[in-house]
């Protein structure tokens, strides 16, 4: 991917970004700000604690566990054990959608359950209140499962949510109750929460139901949370191609499907960061390989469908997939040809998620736009540099505090779907089997990769690069826009989406066109328009 624009010297920019920090902070931040070289990927410091007082976009472990992973499953009652805020703030704030089979089917996503912990519980313990809350939720809904999430005070006051869960599960009989120790201070970001969530889902749900569902090509979709209906578009394409989706983790998902997930023959992984644990554990225990895919971007979508067909090696399936792609492409072509002249040569920055900052570059490429700088909020080194670096990642205190499940092959259910030789063959054909090459390989030379970009740094970046669009979350949105640069939310998509698959790409093209070509920005005097500082623009616009 050649750059459409001449990029400025990343070294001097790095200096500018950190020179206001105290020496210690600067030293630390320097390791997370790296000039990219797609050929010899440099090391990026990632998944380390944000320094106190540095304003970050990162959330907490509870957010990753309850908000991201468990949130989208519609038939689990999620009870947040703690003061009211944590539950309130995670109440429908992510736009993950779900589609109950009928309006009468369970959907607890619109609810916000909390033990609403009061001072007396902090002093005398909250287990009793938690038990009553579980009983109440059960009496009210008779749900299939109830999950308990611990907030900061819970661990400290000694409440044992796991013991309470076991006790209540036994008492209720027909309801799966399990807890998560996802207190907000655990781990460096929401990533810790994803890991905790994966462990819990694997332990308490996967494998509970051995029923073999019909279908020739059975897969699970991992790490897709159905923001703005993304999963619906993927489901549509899979169904159209004749591929059976056993379970989703966890967009538009149900307890029942997850319990049956181990009967699938392939796990496809959309968000590597949040769910690779699950892929690994299912491979070890049940022999199901996992494969990285990407349904963001038209080319990537087509490629992902083809890879699935390649995995199953079935001629009929391959033909069907080609037919689907041929059917879907004309509508996309028509739109992109209209829009691209207006977006060609423009520039973008992405600081978001643990995969999104990578995936969305495909869509910007399709629009002829160059990514000047990108980084993740909560990813690890492997998400930047590729899984090859995994053995070299230092285990620090924060990582050690997250339980690592000991998984072994299931004596009865372990059944390797592919032999090691077959896996190697598939890899040779370009399938990322049990692997992921990371974001940096795809980014241009001299682009800047920044992990956990701070509030301060992102403002500086805009000042220096003047990108045409900035992608992040709502917390950055208004500060960026006050500088005259449109911000596309890639967490909740503003109100937009879906952006996956063919239809999603069209939505994204249109949204970006609307944003970068909007006359509104011309009315905003950006700081550099008043400041005297020399403009860098000339040096990097093609």
């Amino acid at each position: 991917m050649p750059a459409k624009v001449n990029l400025p010297d990343p070294a001097s920019i790095t200096e500018e970004l950190i020179n206001k920090y105290p020496a210690k902070v600067a030293k630390k931040r320097r390791k997370s700000i790296v000039a990219n070289d797609p050929d010899t990927i440099p090391e990026v410091q990632a998944n380390v604690r944000t320094v106190p007082g540095i304003i970050t976009q990162r959330g907490c472990s509870y957010a990753g566990c309850k908000g991201v992973v468990l949130g989208p499953t519609r038939d689990i009652v999620n009870i947040v054990h703690g003061p009211i805020g944590c539950s309130f703030y995670a109440w429908l704030t992510r736009r993950n959608q779900t589609r109950p089979e009928t309006p009468e089917h369970e959907n607890y996503i619109t609810y916000c359950f909390s033990t609403d912990m009061q001072e007396e519980h902090v002093v005398f313990g909250g287990e009793k209140k938690l038990k009553v809350a579980i009983q109440e939720a059960y009496d009210l809904f008779h749900p299939k499962a109830i999950a308990i999430f611990s907030t900061c005070p819970v661990g400290l006051i000694g409440d044992d949510v796991h013991a309470v869960s076991r006790e209540m599960k036994e008492k209720l009989g027909d309801c799966n109750v399990f807890g998560f120790s996802c207190e907000g201070y655990r781990g460096v970001s929401q990533s810790a929460g994803h890991h905790i969530a994966n462990n819990g889902v694997f332990k308490h749900m996967v494998g509970n139901n051995n029923e073999i569902k019909p279908g020739k090509f059975k897969i699970n979709l991992l790490g897709e949370y159905n923001i703005g209906g993304d999963a619906f578009e993927i489901e549509r394409l899979l169904e159209k191609s004749g591929i059976t989706l056993i379970a989703s983790f966890s967009g538009n998902s149900t307890v029942g499907a997850m319990e049956n997930a181990h009967t699938a023959d392939l796990n496809i992984v959309q968000c590597h960061r949040s769910i690779n644990y699950m892929g690994d554990m299912m491979e070890t225990k049940y022999g199901i390989p996992w494969m990285k895919v990407n349904f963001v971007g038209v080319e990537s979508t087509a490629k992902s469908l083809r890879k699935i067909a390649e995995y199953f090696g079935d001629a009929e399936l391959k033909a069907k997939v080609e037919e689907v792609i041929a059917e879907e492409m004309p509508a996309v072509k028509e739109i992109i040809e209209e829009i691209r002249p207006r977006t060609e040569g423009k520039t973008a920055m992405l600081f978001v998620g643990g995969s999104r900052a990578h995936h969305y570059q495909d869509l910007f490429n399709e629009l002829g736009m160059t990514t000047l700088s990108a980084g993740y909020e909560f990813a690890h080194r492997d998400d930047y540099e590729g899984r090859e670096v995994l053995p070299n990642i230092k285990i620090d205190a924060d990582s050690k505090n997250i339980e690592e499940l000991k998984v072994t092959a299931d004596p009865e259910l372990y059944n390797p779907r592919k032999s090691p030789e077959e896996i190697e063959e598939l890899k040779a054909k370009g399938l990322e089997m049990n692997g992921y090459t990371g974001m940096m390989k795809q980014m241009v030379h001299k682009s800047l990769v920044i992990d956990d970009v701070s509030h301060y740094e992102s403002e500086k970046l805009i000042e220096i690069y003047k990108p045409d669009i900035f992608c992040a979350g709502i917390k950055k949105k208004y500060v960026v826009q006050k500088m005259g640069v449109p911000l596309k939310q890639l967490h909740s998509y503003d109100y937009g989406g879906p952006y996956t698959g063919f239809k999603g790409a069209v939505n994204f093209y249109k949204d970006i066109d609307r944003m970068v070509n909007n006359p509104v920005w011309k009315m905003i005097k950006a700081p550099w328009e008043k400041a005297e500082s020399e403009s860098l623009e000339a040096s990097y616009v093609a």
Binding site: V25, V51, P52, Y89, E104, L156, P527
Partner: protein, 455 residues
């Protein structure tokens, strides 16, 4: 989906809460002080969630720093993180003030923040440091409104000094919209008396683009003005359930003898008349003609619009003070607020409402503290109101039960311009009245098979 919800009575757990957590209120209040950065002593998640939440309403950047606890901090105490955090914030933002609020985490482990701050000042040398305000806001006591008032009181405690009385008023206007604040400031200006309004986030949370580079958005109550509040002629404090012992005006009265005039939020004609009468008394000036005009137009609108709204039933929810004042206004225009509900639990709500609505019980108006949206929805099924009035959190219930929702207060995150809504004074009442009337008209027009074109 079928539930037994409607048969449910007293609950232990809270579903769909009708309140937010204490530190959020403190952060909001801190944003109303000039050159102040809010700082949460706890996990980074708290700052992130609260920023995210406030932003969804105000649509402005809201920076909140954090001491960013990790597991070791949680075990060994947050002193190191707090100091480091304060240092870094100071270096990046050069604030004049840092507003520090605790969270459930730092409160649970019992961090002694005043002691840490003392220590920090001793190490750093007080001269170059921003002033630090400290508010204890454990999220397991009270709700966001308590955090708000605690922070305001702390600000006054930190800055106010006594001394010779000045010809100046304090106005503690409570948790109101930026547009309301602007309007109050305009009124005080028209009366021609110097004043201090705290907190003033009318610009910090509803400002323009940044032609210059602002690390901290411009606006907010100047600290020099807060310092003067101790020598003001009087304080006016809005809020029906806010007790003197917890309030900023209460502190000033107790400490410096500044008379405290407490009154409900001025919503409706009667309540606003009361506010203006107080201003006339304190400033010894008559109501400016401009507001006489606004009042006249409002009375005229009441007359023109009474037929649409009289006898309608509404369910009202939100912060206690807002609900109390809105209920009195609704009675004034002939609407019956069949249920007045709040997640707050002052224990004073019904008492205060009886003062404003003497026939409360005769009208069978239910007043409920400490309820959640499931409770409210269950009541809605029985009470069958014509519409709901409250924040965006009522939307799901409004949609499910096909009830119209008139959005007021905070948070409003499914409509645009929540920060620009007026609620107070003749102007705010006019806006509320027009919106209520048009809600009724729209419903009537849309649901009529005839579709009247003249209404």
């Amino acid at each position: 989906m079928t539930t037994n919800a409607s048969t449910m009575t007293a609950k232990t757990a809270t579903q769909n809460a009708c309140k937010l957590c204490t530190p959020l209120g403190a952060c909001l209040a801190f944003r109303g002080i000039e050159k102040c950065v809010p700082f949460l002593h706890g996990s980074q998640g708290c700052a992130t969630y609260i920023r995210r939440y406030l932003i969804s309403h105000y649509k402005e950047p809201i920076d909140i720093a954090s001491s960013n606890f990790n597991e070791e901090t949680a075990v060994f105490g947050g002193s190191h993180n707090l100091k480091l955090g304060l240092k870094n914030v100071t270096q990046q933002y050069k604030p004049q003030v840092i507003g520090i609020a605790t969270t459930c985490l730092s409160e649970t482990i019992g961090d002694d923040v005043p002691m840490i701050l003392k220590d920090y000042k001793a190490i750093m040398g007080e001269a170059d440091l921003p002033t630090m305000i400290f508010a204890s806001t454990p999220s397991y006591t009270g709700s966001h409104i308590d955090g708000f008032h605690t922070a305001v009181r702390s600000a006054v405690q930190t800055f106010a000094t006594g001394g010779a009385k000045k010809n100046m008023l304090n106005l503690f206007s409570g948790m109101i919209s930026p547009a309301d604040i602007r309007y109050l400031k305009e009124i005080l200006k028209e009366f021609g008396m110097p004043f201090m309004l705290l907190p003033d986030y009318s610009q910090t949370l509803d400002g323009g683009p940044w032609g210059e580079y602002h690390r901290i958005p411009p606006g907010g109550t100047p600290t020099s003005a807060i310092a003067d509040s101790g020598s003001a002629a009087a304080s006016i404090e809005f809020g029906s359930t806010l007790e003197a012992k917890k309030s900023a005006a209460g502190y000033l009265e107790e400490t410096f003898g500044v008379p405290r005039h407490s009154m409900p939020l001025p919503i409706g004609i009667k309540a606003t008349d009361r506010f203006f009468a107080l201003l006339e008394e304190l400033t010894e000036k008559p109501m400016p003609e401009k507001y006489e005009d606004e009042r006249r137009r409002l009375v005229d609108a009441y007359a023109d619009g009474h037929k649409y709204v009289f006898g309608r039933k509404a369910i009202l929810y939100g912060e206690e003070d807002l609900v109390i004042s809105m209920a009195a206004f609704l009675r004034e225009i002939g609407v019956v607020p069949v249920l007045c509900a709040s997640g707050g639990k002052s224990g004073l709500m019904k008492k205060r409402m009886l003062e404003l609505i003497p026939d409360l019980e005769e009208l069978e108006i239910q007043v409920r503290e400490g309820v959640d949206f499931v409770d409210i929805e269950n009541e809605a099924k029985v009470l069958k109101p014509d519409f709901l009035i409250g924040n965006s959190k009522g939307f799901t219930m409004s949609r499910k039960n096909e009830l119209q929702l008139i959005r007021i207060g905070f948070p409003i995150h499914d409509r645009f311009g929540g920060q620009r809504l007026h609620h107070l004074g003749y102007k705010g009442t006019q806006e509320l009245f027009d919106r209520i009337v048009n809600t009724v008209i729209e419903y009537r027009q849309n649901s009529s098979p005839v579709g009247y074109t003249y209404i």
